[in-house]
Amino acid sequence: MTYAADVAALARKDLLLELRAKETLPSMLLFVIAALTIFHFALPSGTSHAAALGLLWAAIIFTALLGLTRAFVAEREQGMLDALVLAPCDRSAIWLGKALAVLAFLVAAEVVALPAFAAFFSGLDGRTVAAVALADIGIASVGTLFGAMAVAGRARELLLPLLFLPMAIPIVVGGVGGYLWFLALYDAIFVVLSWAAFEYVVSET
């Protein structure tokens, strides 16, 4: 119960910060709509649904990356990771709170992006929406872990894409193929791994 309250307090803090700063979500929205618009005009008419779906996943992954680069900005610029790590709460609560906030931003961006995709291309089926929802969980969990790693590194802007994009390949494979079981398995594995690994990532920052 205390753990859940800690997670809720940390996630609420991130949502409040975004509400005040209005930096991450507007950037993500602008990016994903711009990317889908470019794809719409770049693709020749009569392009297959599978090809369009591939571009949707590319847009989602890069939009997520944009959000993830902003996820730890306050912790990085204001040294707040030190203050959070020193608190006696379970350190994985810091990861979970942040991952939930990232997830909320992703879902908010997709609430706009998916209808836009449906309008620009060949509609949207329930399987794709389910795949996106499952992918969001994996993206938020792995991305938040790598975001914390990047805070400690020197070449931060470089490190996050280098760590995150290879790990996003299975998500794209599962998403384009519509393999929901594969995405669920990815989530199960990487949520647990990220949750357990966060303690070690922030131990020497």
Binding site: T2, A5, D6, A9, L10, K13, L16, L17, R20, A21, A74, Q78, G79, M80, D82, A83, L84, V85, L86, A87, P88, C89, S203, E204, T205
Partner: protein, 190 residues
Amino acid sequence: MIAARSLAKRYGEHRVFAGIDIDLRPGGFLLVTGPNGSGKTTLLRVLAGLAAPTAGSLRLPERHTVGYLGHEPLVYRELTPLENLTLFGRLYRLPERGARIGMLLERFGLWEVRHERVSTFSRGMQQRLGLCRVLLHEPSLLLLDEPYNALDAEGCELLDGVFDEHRTWVVATHEPRRVEQRATERLAFA
């Protein structure tokens, strides 16, 4: 409270410090002095448990009994003082945190601006809020890195009053005159 033997810290080939011995008893005051870049901040980070020593042994009190103020006040600039302290009060599991937060904000002259964003504050006001945060959970060990930084005369006097409290202190500064008479232990970096 703190027992360190032959403590050393390196970053790759760069040796920050080595051979540090510390015996700090409850109620003691360790004054760490030295020029900029001499390793004071790194030592405080090691003592706070934020960085691991490369060599040596170190015994520290439990995490919830430690308060750490670094070069930055370690508060969220887009939150208000009340929101910052409520968040940390929650994470430190403070009972009746509202009363404690109110008392600290009053003491450090921030009550009137408790609903304003920290980003609108001067650096001195942010430092005052950093002191509120670090005292919030009534730590028995306080690690303060250049605590007088940016404080005006009134702020410095408030901090002097904090030092009168019976706690264990490790204070790093390159201007030791203000706290020199309180020191029970000294550590000078070259």
